[in-house]
């Protein structure tokens, strides 16, 4: 009678046992040996992802919801699903409602933009400091224009201030002959903002004392800006 050979018989050159290694379960020394890929059995549903949790260790991340993107969690320890960031940021336009007198010549005066045409993220302060403090970091496009009455032989300036320091400046002047040809100063500029403490303001300057910065509808004296891209 012939004895059936098993792995345990340990003949020379035979495999005498199958042991599960990392990520594998099962094994044995006789009969039908089944080994199973643990990574495969960890997957329960379509879209499941397997990721490492340490040396030779892994777990499952179930599929997210429609439109989500995969990102690293706040502790930088694992991936997670998150809503895709919208490619947009704060936008505002503020204006001056009534004339603002600039009593002193040759002095930079902050323009009190005391009304908002729009302010998507409530970043513009139109009551106290008249400044834009964006809450999202990135590069911002700014535009401004002020109305200064035109007269002979003086020059009006307009400046964009960032954190109290001028970063962009323009001027419009008259030459005494073609006074009405001089336009009001307007400027545009691109500036970075950290999304927390950086703030932006508009200052005006005239070589003539007692000028009024014109106020009224939104096209008269205004300051606007919009987030363009991240840093």
């Amino acid at each position: 009678m012939t004895k059936a050979r098993t792995l345990a018989d340990n003949y020379a050159a035979d495999i005498n046992g199958i042991t599960a290694g990392t990520g594998i379960t099962g094994g044995g020394t006789s009969g039908t040996v089944t080994i199973t890929n643990q990574m495969a059995t960890t997957i329960d549903a379509a879209g499941d992802l397997i990721y490492g949790t340490g040396s030779d260790a892994f777990t499952k991340l179930s599929i997210g919801t429609a439109g989500q993107i995969l990102k690293v969690n706040s502790g930088a320890t694992a991936p997670e699903w998150a809503a895709a960031s919208a490619a947009s940021g704060p936008a505002f336009k503020a204006r001056r409602t009534a004339d603002q007198n600039v009593a002193s010549a040759n002095t930079w005066v902050k323009v009190q933009l005391n009304a908002e045409v729009y302010d998507t993220d409530n970043c513009f302060d139109s009551t106290t400091n008249y400044r834009f403090t964006p809450t999202k970091a990135g590069y911002y496009q700014f535009n401004s224009r002020i109305y200064f009455p035109i007269n002979n032989n003086y020059v009006n300036f307009l400046a964009l201030y960032k954190n109290g320091t001028v970063v962009a400046q323009t001027n419009a002047g008259t030459n005494g002959t073609n006074a009405n040809m001089a336009g009001p100063p307007g400027l545009s500029d691109l500036q970075s903002a950290n999304g927390s403490s950086d703030y932006f303001e508009i200052y005006a300057y005239s070589t003539s004392a007692g000028n009024d910065i014109g106020g009224g509808a939104e096209q008269v004296t205004y300051f606007s800006g919009v987030w363009i891209r991240g840093l």
Binding site: Q100, A103, S104, A105, N106, T107, K110, Q112, Q169
Partner: protein, 56 residues
Amino acid sequence: MSLYDELLEALPELTENDFWPYVGTIVLQNDSDGLGDYIAKWDYPKPIPDGFKLGK
């Protein structure tokens, strides 16, 4: 009398060019906070005249 006029009186040699944006050595500013005009920058070769100060 404005701060600008007072400075011209204290230092008669000063001209409008000394305050000119970007190229001038003196910057006067008013932050519209009710505190009035003040000297924001003084790079003029002479010291700030008595009775005046830098900042608010």
